[in-house]
């Protein structure tokens, strides 16, 4: 069983190297690698016992003199994010099939390399390893967005890069500090959990970590890099950013911030929730005014993530469980949305809402799948978005009623701007531009059908997913509250 996790983590790296050296067949090689990863993940899920323990753990000395170990493992929380990553990567690769990217071998190799970094982040039980993965996921996405992106890509991506790396360097500072406090002088997660830090120290740790995670998610006011980067990136890049990479921030909060600095969270959690809720309302309002569909989805993503982040900082089981499901659902939905917009942009050469209209008549199949994805995004009961947002709202409501009210607004707002976008793009009169629209075919169909199936299945029967993370979440909450009560 030990080898399973190693295989899971390193397979994408091997895939990346192989892909880099294949020529025009790169996309097939990449897809095979991604599907193998998915198969391995499914095997892992089947062998996973949904209790609170860390399973498939590997722990090898790496840089012994510095107390760095290659310590990785999977518990319920990791399982969800690993599943998310390995389900989405093949979908993302498949969605890029219709495009002709220059130097496609480099393009797909970078996607797989990023997958490697993400898996490191989601399984690392050693803070140093976590940091390595954190950066290893950033470099490839920078190159993907900056090489294959739109017109303004260089400036926009530099901003994105410097923003995120600024956050992560301060996180590194926090990690080094924790390492120095640790009498065993290593980066082991359990040792970090057991540290006895006073509340001042925990406040500092909170901010060092929170800013890094808040930039990644992004939480208001650290979000300014996001809309431009999402819009300028090539669609697979946008999908990787919004579908998976922002979950690194959420995961980081759950895995590192809450249990390592619970007092810091208690002290500053209010601020985090207020910022998150401001982000929800602010991004929703801005989403209303967007003329570009891709930008609209980018802002809606800020709103969704704000709700997830508020749910986590509410520090209760409902909020946390909601965050787990919503991470998965949001990843699937947002990838679907961006893919639909990519299909439209590829045919119409525009994502401007005003220029489109009446596509449903020309492309009935697209209309249906697009509708399902939109329904999932606005959290209609029976779709995957519902259960996550419902739990999140309960969590936030339990924390503070007003917070729940404002967060609830986001769902209404979301429904309005999403439906308006759908209506203006798909319904109405077919104009001169959209008259030539051809319906989805081939790999587009495959991708969209898979996404729709996931939306409906997870919406109707979310229990297995909830079950996967339940015990771990439960334990985490207990751990945090225990630490807090022992102090007070």
């Amino acid at each position: 069983m030990e080898q399973l996790l190693l295989l899971l983590i390193f397979l994408p790296l091997v895939g990346a190297v192989v892909t880099a050296f294949t020529g025009s067949a790169a996309k097939h090689v990449a897809l095979v690698s991604a599907i193998l990863s998915l198969a391995l993940t499914l095997i892992t899920v089947c062998n996973f016992t949904p209790d609170a323990s860390t399973q498939f753990a590997v722990n090898y000395p790496w840089i012994q003199d510095l107390g760095i170990n290659f310590h990785a493992g999977i518990d319920g929380i990791s399982m969800i994010t690993v599943l998310l990553t390995n389900v989405l990567v093949p979908i993302i690769i498949l969605s890029a099939y219709q495009h002709d990217y220059k130097n496609s071998n480099a393009f797909f190799a970078l996607i797989l390399f990023m997958q490697f970094g993400l898996l490191l982040v989601f399984t690392a039980m050693d803070a140093f390893l976590f940091y390595i993965g954190w950066e290893a996921a950033l470099i490839p996405i920078y190159f993907i967005c900056a090489i294959w992106g739109g017109k303004d890509r260089i400036k926009v991506n530099m901003k994105f890069f410097v923003y995120t790396i600024a956050g992560s360097l301060f996180m590194l500072l926090g990690i080094i500090y924790l390492y120095l406090q640790n009498p065993a002088h290593n980066f082991d997660i359990q040792a970090f959990y057991n540290l006895n830090l006073d509340s001042v120290q925990q406040s500092w740790i909170f901010w060092a970590f929170f800013i890094a995670f808040a930039i990644k998610m992004p939480v208001f006011p650290f979000h300014t890099w996001q809309p431009d980067t999402y819009t300028e990136a090539p669609t697979p890049g946008t999908m990787l950013l919004s579908g998976i990479m922002l979950k690194m921030g959420i995961y980081g909060v759950i895995r590192w911030l809450l249990p390592v600095a619970p007092e810091g969270v208690q002290q500053w959690g209010n601020v985090a929730i207020i910022l998150s809720i401001i982000g929800v309302v602010y991004a929703s309002i801005i989403a209303f005014t967007q003329k570009d569909a891709k930008r609209l989805v980018a802002y809606s993503s800020i709103a969704h993530v704000g709700l997830i982040s508020a749910g986590i900082f509410a520090l209760n089981t409902q909020g946390m469980q909601g965050a787990m499901v919503q991470m998965l659902s949001h990843g699937i939905n947002v990838v679907g949305l961006f893919f639909v917009l990519d299909i439209i942009a590829r045919r119409m050469k525009t994502n401007k809402i005003a220029e489109l209209g009446g596509i449903a008549k020309q492309a009935p199949q697209l209309a249906i799948v697009f509708l399902i994805i939109v329904l999932g995004t606005v959290a209609l009961p029976g779709t995957n978005g519902f259960i996550g947002e419902f739990l999140l709202l309960i969590g936030v409501y339990q924390y503070k009623v007003w917070a729940g009210v404002f967060a609830g607004l986001s769902i209404i707002f979301g429904a309005v701007y999403m439906f308006r976008m759908y209506q203006n793009i798909m319904l109405g009169k077919t104009n001169d531009l959209t008259i030539g629209f051809t319906d989805i075919k081939g790999s587009e169909k495959v991708v969209l059908y898979i996404i729709c199936a996931l939306i409906i299945v997870l919406g109707v029967y979310p229990k297995p997913i909830l079950h996967l993370s339940e015990a771990s979440v439960q334990q985490l909450i207990e751990q945090v509250t225990q630490k807090l009560t022992s102090v007070n």
Partner: protein, 457 residues
Amino acid sequence: MNIIITITVTALVVLYAGLFKAKKALLPLTLIGLLTSLAFVVTSWNTNQTYYGMMQMDNFALAFAGITILGTLFIFLLTQNYFAEHSENIAEYFTLILFSLAGIVIMVSYKNMSMLFIGVEIMSVALYILAGIRKNNFASNEASLKYFLMGAFSTGFLLFGITLIYGATGSFDLGVINQYLVTNYKSISPLFYPGVILLMVGLCFKIGAAPFHFWTPDVYEGAPTLITAFMSTVVKTAGFAAFLRLFADTFAPLHDFWLPPLMVIVCLTLFIGNVTALFQKNFKRMLAYSSISHAGYLLFSLIALTANSANNVLVYAAAYTFASIIAFGVLILVKQKTGNDNFESFNGLGKRNPFAAFVLTVAMLSLAGIPLTAGFMGKYLMFLNVMHDYQFYLVAFAILNALVGFYYYFKVIVAMYFKDGAEVELETPVQYKVVLVLSLIITVFLGVYPSVILNLI
């Protein structure tokens, strides 16, 4: 000792070979000489021999000698046809570099202040000539003159410092001086303190730390690229080794005294180096300024003296040396084709020569300090070192500077991949390939598995 003898003999043999017009034999002879001296580094490991109380070949000295010799070896491999374009007398330049290297080995192994002075002078005199090897080039002459004047100045400071310390302690010997500090801690002669400061100033000149850095950009830009590579990697490393030997060891009891001025120097160096590098349009000049900022990071090792200080410098110096060699190597290739070394000449390199572009990208990531490269390990160790003393503000300041660093290092990457340039094929000669690949392997290997050199010293 045999290391210095080997290098010196090689230098003389090469000089004679040049006299007999055996141009083809120069490079092989040099390489054999350097490889032999590297072999001596390996065989003398852990022997810790002292020669007449003047030089001590401890592991510290050997490790730094090893890195400087290896760096020189790589730079020699890059000389293919390089000097031939500039001058008839290639043998002289080979010899001068080797003499300079001999001085460097003395600088990393001195046990007596007079040897420090002799080492610095042997190294510098050869460099003054090398900086000016393009006799008909104005910039090259300017570089040579500036370097010479500034070098003479700094030697003056160095000598004053040594004299004052001799006046206070009555000895040049590092052991005796250290003993003096330990035994007379309460009643150190007032001559000693200005001596320490003057030595610090003199050495800061040599390593190009602010505010004694003004010569670096002009000299680095004016000197032939290969000599610049030598100066900014090998020579700089040697300067740090000399610095460390004196301050981390001999003057360690006076840490509280020389720490405040050092802090000022570190902050200035980081800030000036980084911010000025940001505004450069010329790649070579950018590297010059960035080398100033790296000097700042390297000085971190002296702020908190731990058992690992020397070793951290070794890791950082290795990371910096090999990444810089890549940068200069690719720069030479690009310059040969385009004729200038501005950022624009790198435009579209990703298409013209994907291999060189990839290697240079890794080098830039390493210099910027991205994980999985040696540069990150170096920076990490430096931050860790300083965090031992809980100097948060300093580390936070360094982080802000590192962010600035990302901007200018990524400028090259942006030019290579995201901008279109002239569609001129750019070939990589075999020797360049060897150097680039080896440096790449070292850079990545030290980034992934630095354990090999973490406990060397």
